[in-house]
């Protein structure tokens, strides 16, 4: 790799390039920059009505539409001071888990694992690992069903509403979800076994791991901001703690906390909230040799698989309860429109996602700010790249390039989400 060599990276959501600039055997600069057309969601969501924006928000990303949908509807609820019912929250959690499960499954087995076994794509895995790939496909289908049964369809759900759901899953759908969640639990044995064949590269660079945290559970749907460095803050106060920065070379928004890069996502959550993982998830971590805490960013993929075990356990709990007691016939509440501000966050598969709105008396948004997980981790990707390249300068160019690509891919970057990016 030398200066001005820019590669379009494959097997990631959206378009991004990376470059490493070497001079006299030294790493001069590194960059990782999404280059997709700027989508300016924040600008055009203004003047749209609160009861439609959470459907538009899902279109920020086809890989995590549920997270954007939920963060958005929660921000609207915060602005309107609407409190969703307990049942609504549980149903939303099923959608959220469903999304984490499908997204992690695709990333671990179809996008990342090929790197760790030296294959070009999941298609190339088929001849040797047909059975296992089939199990992963089945798992993904079940996860999509969870989103569909609650949200209406897997990509861009439309059953969510402010304070509730437009339509509730039928008893048949609850039973079907439960049966599929049980199958997922079984499939995981095979998948964990499959993944243990992966050779995850050695690497270590400690950073600050940030995510949502809750006293009640391994936080995904709700919580406050927290990090492994002891930082804690209400989500509403994010702007005081997470600094936005525009870099000269990419016109992208990069984020730092106290001037330093930090990481969000599965590995960050694992490092931050390990104690609250389900017993089986902890056991899986042990089986896969994932120690807590771990500073190897490549293990983000492993942490995703550990989370898959945890998420299925949690989904099973909620569904068993629904199966026993049935759903109450709840309708979304009547909403009183008033001016207000609302900020909310959920953990998307790739990490903490924040939507923040200001609304006028007609229910139209006036100010919009969206902070996406991929954007928050960008600085950390670059910091990792710098160390990784430095430690592997002796490798032939092509090998080094694949290693850098594998690192970027392990972060599971979601470029469509990083709406702030512009081409240089």
């Amino acid at each position: 790799m030398s200066s001005h060599e820019v590669e379009l990276i494959t097997r990631v959501e959206g378009h991004a390039v990376y470059a490493v600039d070497l001079e006299k055997g030294e790493v001069k600069s590194v960059r990782f920059a999404p280059v997709e057309g700027a989508r300016l969601f924040e600008a055009w969501l203004r003047q749209r009505h609160y009861d439609e924006v959470y459907f538009f928000a899902s279109r920020i990303c086809g890989f995590c539409p549920v997270s954007h949908n939920l963060a958005s509807v929660k921000a609207v609820e915060a602005a309107l001071q609407v409190q969703p019912s307990e049942q609504t929250v549980k149903l939303r959690k099923i959608m959220n888990f469903g999304e984490h499960l499908q997204s992690h499954c695709i990333h671990v087995f179809f996008l990342s694992l090929p790197d760790f076994v030296g294959a070009e794509s999941a298609f190339a895995l088929l001849p040797q690992y047909g059975e296992e790939v089939k199990a992963a496909v089945e798992f993904r289908d079940h996860a999509n069903y969870l989103i569909e049964a609650v949200g209406g369809r897997p990509v861009h759900p439309m059953a969510t509403a402010v304070g509730g759901f437009r339509r509730l899953p039928t008893p048949t759908q609850i039973a079907e979800m439960l049966s599929r969640a049980r199958q997922m639990k079984k499939l995981l044995e095979k998948l964990v076994d499959f993944y243990s064949k992966a050779k995850v590269p050695e690497f270590s660079r400690e950073t600050e791991y940030l995510g949502l945290q809750s006293q009640l559970e391994y936080a995904l749907y709700d919580g406050c901001l927290a990090s492994t460095k002891g930082f804690k803050a209400e989500v509403e106060a994010y702007k005081q703690h997470i600094e936005e920065e525009v870099r000269e070379y990419s016109t992208a928004k990069y984020y730092t906390r106290e001037g330093k890069p930090f990481m969000v996502g599965a590995l960050a959550r694992f490092n931050l909230n390990y104690d609250q993982l389900s017993d089986d998830a902890k056991e899986t971590a042990e089986t896969l040799g994932l120690k807590h805490p771990t500073y190897n960013s490549f293990h983000n993929t492993t942490a995703q698989l550990v989370e898959m075990v945890h998420d299925v356990d949690e989904v099973l709990k909620i569904l068993e309860e629904f199966q026993d007691s049935g759903l109450k016939d709840e309708r979304p509440p009547k909403v009183e429109v008033k001016p207000g501000k609302g900020t909310a966050s959920v953990e998307a598969p790739r990490g903490t996602l924040i939507h923040s709105y200001e609304m006028d008396g007609n229910g139209l948004l006036r100010e919009v700010d969206i902070v996406t997980p991929t954007a928050m981790s960008l600085n950390n990707v670059e910091a990792d790249m710098r160390v990784l390249v430095k430690e592997n300068l002796n490798l032939p160019r092509e090998k080094l390039a694949s290693l850098v690509e594998a690192l970027i891919r392990a972060y599971d970057p979601c470029i469509s989400c990083s709406v702030h990016f512009l081409r240089k």
Partner: protein, 251 residues
Amino acid sequence: MGKLKVAFFDFTSCNGCLLSMINHPEFVEVVSHVELADFRLVRSLKVEGPFDVSFVEGYPGDSHEIERLKKIREQSNMLVALGACACTGSIQSIRNFFDLEEAANYVYKGVKKDIAEVKPLDAYVEVDFYLPGCPASGAEAVQTLKALLVGRKPEIPMHAVCVECKLRETECVLVQGIPCLGPVTRGGCGAPCPAAGYFCDGCRGPCSDPNVASEVEILRKLLGKEEIVRLFRRYASLKEAFKEVAEGKVE
């Protein structure tokens, strides 16, 4: 005869259309019968053109992407627009009603930019077949591939979404006083939105011969003028049939 050489490209988009296609249970089986060329989203291998068929998701978001689209067109015997972004600009086209300079400044606070107006693929190149929807229907994408594999001309419906509500026996939401674009929107999706307690918000663009005037008359009883305009500014405001209302010409 050799295998059909098929490529999948993504431009500025959310990747939800390609994902919906990959999610379809028959997709893996169907692609095993084609020569899979470029598919950046899921594989590293690049196969050079020319291509028999190229599926293109998204819209060209900057000058580089416009050039890339033109090159792909040159190399493709057939070009399929996959999804609303590619067919009509989708919800991104809402941005066209803002001053681009102001909108960019709002997000990037004065940083220089290369941003194209939101236009569908056929504003730049010839498109041979359209698969509408936000997201596009995975079933229709797979069905299109299958037709092409056996050398048949692919076909998808042009009738209104209402036809599909009747077929699946969804209680009409419009009758219950909920505004719905189904009467003027192209079906083929199976009308999932009214069935989920929502309404059809028109993601597949206009059906054949939509009676927009009568639709607006019905909506006028339920909504204010501005709300109607907003509804027509969702996915297909650039389409001739929807343009006038989207631009605010409502009595």
